[in-house]
């Protein structure tokens, strides 16, 4: 799914809800907490996400070993529950004699850092372009939306591959490649909203008394789209984590010694027969994280736009 279907999946999630078509209700804090308490989905999601965040934050304290330390005796050490394993290395050791558990903990930071930066960038740029397109209309709208079509038609991974080749693999290259692919979703959602709001009477009125365009966008469009953008962003965090893993898996990710879940799986694939735990640990952690985020995102969507659920 993380292949080249990045925008499509999130697009579909947004579409299935009819997100952009609904007026956003006020998000009152109390109502939110109450709803969260009643939703096993939201609670489970929040718990998982919280766990991953806590682990990432406390990684240097929690990690029992230095993630880059290589010890001959730790090579291909089985996980604790398997014969020959030890509780000192819960998830075992990798091919270079490093502690897998410690690497997963520190790797969480890579994933989260990429996800947060990418989603922030994509959401900001995408929303701005979407608002401008929707509000300005005409040629500007046309250019922005054709650019979006262009990016949709360009096979994402090939684009990423070329960007990586030009700039060299690394954290910021990855951020750039992912942001380029993901702003489109926000642009579409926000543009739809902007178009809708523009038709409304109060906007007509504001315009007739000479309120400048940018203030209408800031004052009316932006507050109205924030909930939809927030849901989209939450769901996209999971997507970016998966995409980061996929790119790292293809050898395009962050460079050593920084551990990354995708890279750990890619490395472990060469040892599937003899040391399957090299893949299992990071694999399950990716799964856990993205399930958590998706559950929470689902809850958030239902909360903001209850129509789909009821």
């Amino acid at each position: 799914m993380a292949d080249s279907t990045l925008s499509q999946v999130v697009g579909s999630q947004a579409m299935g809800t009819g997100l952009s078509a609904e007026p956003a209700p006020d998000v009152a804090r109390g109502r939110f907490v109450k709803a969260l308490r009643r939703s096993p989905k939201g609670l489970a999601g929040l718990l998982l996400v919280g766990l991953v965040l806590a682990c990432a934050a406390a990684a240097p304290i929690l990690a029992p070993h230095d993630p880059a330390q290589q010890v001959l005796g730790w090579r291909f050490l089985p996980p604790a529950w398997a014969t020959g394993g030890s509780w000192e290395h819960i998830l075992g050791g990798d091919n270079l004699g490093r502690d897998i558990f410690s690497r997963i903990l520190v790797g969480a930071r890579t994933s989260i850092a990429v996800a947060v930066v990418v989603v922030t960038l994509a959401a900001t740029i995408g929303s701005l372009l979407g608002a401008v397109a929707g509000y300005a209309g005409g040629i500007v709208d046309n250019i922005i939306m054709r650019l979006a079509d262009f990016l949709l038609a360009f096979p994402f991974l090939l684009l990423a591959l070329m960007i990586m080749a030009i700039l060299g693999p690394g954290f910021w290259t990855m951020v750039l490649a992912l942001s380029i692919a993901l702003w489109v979703n926000y642009a579409r959602v926000v543009r739809g909203e902007a178009l809708r709001i523009e038709q409304m009477e109060f906007v007509e009125a504001a315009r007739s008394i000479g309120v400048p365009g940018w203030r209408i966008v800031l004052g009316h469009v932006v507050p109205n789209v924030i909930p939809s953008v927030l849901v989209l962003a939450t769901l996209e965090v999971a997507l970016v984590i998966i995409a980061e893993a996929a790119l790292s898996f293809l050898g395009l990710g962050v460079q050593p010694p920084t551990p990354s879940w995708g890279k750990m799986i890619s490395e472990g694939r060469d040892f599937l027969y003899d040391a399957p735990w090299m893949v299992l640990g990071p694999g399950l952690v990716i799964l856990m994280t993205s399930v958590g985020i998706n559950l929470f995102g689902d809850f958030l969507r239902d909360f903001i736009d209850p129509r789909t659920e009821r």
Binding site: D3, S4, T5, L158, A245, A246, L272, S290
Partner: protein, 329 residues
């Protein structure tokens, strides 16, 4: 409808020419050229040798020059010749397209076979345990990266159980059907199909989840519509209501998504093709980029973009044809 088609095709052509331009520009920015790659294993090659080869291969021409002549040739159906394999790029693509296309097809068939019943049942039994289970499956589906699922499937079915091959492609299943029927050799089909199983499941899982969710919400929407309520009130049997009225209409918005998904799969499930060593377009394009085979990069990107755009165009038109509201409105 005709003017609409013409307009859409016009847009599509502009987008494709734009993609070709960006790819041309990028190949000039990418460090290293095909001669660097060839010389990497041959320290005996001097700079003069490399320079001579570059000019013989036409790599010293300017980017605009190459782009214009490429576009001109492409319009006449000539997608250029691979610098590495020295055969027409169209030939290389045609050799690999069937593998990608068939993997796409089976993945989608598999995904829909599961997604439609799940979507319908979860929509009808909202908030029941079935619905909750459906939600869990859907969340798992969107949360599981296909490469991870692929590796885990290999671990289970190939490494641990030894039931299915871990990678590779042994030819088309569809193409083998006539022979299997004529000769009564259905084992031939299985010999080929076993190679499809793991890759198509790894791709289908995510698609299944997304489509099941879509079908569910579309069903909920349609069931609420007056005509369905009316049919129900009239005493039409529930099964008929669901299948004849609700599902038929619910499927319409889903088709757009399926079109997008097919376009994306065709334009290269690169990761899945890497995991399963699948000889498709995705792997071909990665190989083209790593060897800096510029004409092949151009051709693969162009073809996949055309496939993607064409798929969307077809879906759009289909949408207009099947959706009665669209037709009359």
């Amino acid at each position: 409808m005709l003017p609409l088609i013409i307009k859409r095709i016009g847009y599509a052509l502009i987008i494709i020419a734009g993609i070709a331009f960006v790819v041309s520009a990028m190949t000039k920015l990418v460090p290293g050229d095909p001669v660097d790659v060839m010389a990497a294993g041959n320290p005996g090659m001097t700079e003069a040798d490399k320079a001579r080869l570059r000019s013989q291969l036409g790599l010293d021409r300017s980017m605009m020059d190459q782009y214009v002549s490429y576009l001109g040739n492409a319009l006449q159906g000539d997608l250029g010749t691979s610098l590495r394999q020295r055969v027409p790029t169209a030939q290389l693509i045609l050799e690999r397209l069937p593998a990608t296309a068939e993997l796409t097809l089976w993945s989608m068939v598999l995904a829909l076979l599961v997604a439609v019943p799940i979507g319908v049942v979860t929509a009808l039994r909202r908030d029941s345990p079935v619905d909750t289970a459906g939600t869990v499956v859907a969340v798992l589906g969107v949360s599981t990266p296909s490469f991870l699922l692929g590796v885990l499937l290999i671990l289970l079915f190939s490494v641990q159980l030894g039931w299915l091959p871990a990678s590779g492609y042994k030819g088309s299943v569809i193409a083998a059907i006539p022979r299997a029927i004529v000769e009564g050799r259905f084992d031939l089909l299985w010999q080929k199909a076993r190679y499809f199983l793991l890759p198509s499941v790894s791709l289908a899982f995510g698609l299944m989840a997304v489509n099941a969710r879509l079908i569910r919400s579309a069903m909920i929407e349609t069931i609420r519509q007056d005509y369905v309520q009316f049919a129900r009130a009239k005493g039409v049997p529930p099964r008929t209501v669901v299948l004849r009225h609700a599902l038929r209409n619910a499927i319409i918005p889903v088709i757009t998504m399926i079109g997008l998904q097919l376009g994306n799969l065709l334009s290269g499930a690169i990761v899945a093709e890497t995991v399963f060593a699948w000889p498709g377009i995705g792997r071909l394009s990665v190989q083209a980029i790593t060897t800096r085979d510029y004409p092949l990069v151009q051709a693969t990107v162009l073809i996949t973009a055309v496939l993607f755009v064409a798929m969307n165009l077809i879906v759009d038109l289909l949408y207009h044809v099947i959706d009665p509201r669209m037709r009359h409105g």
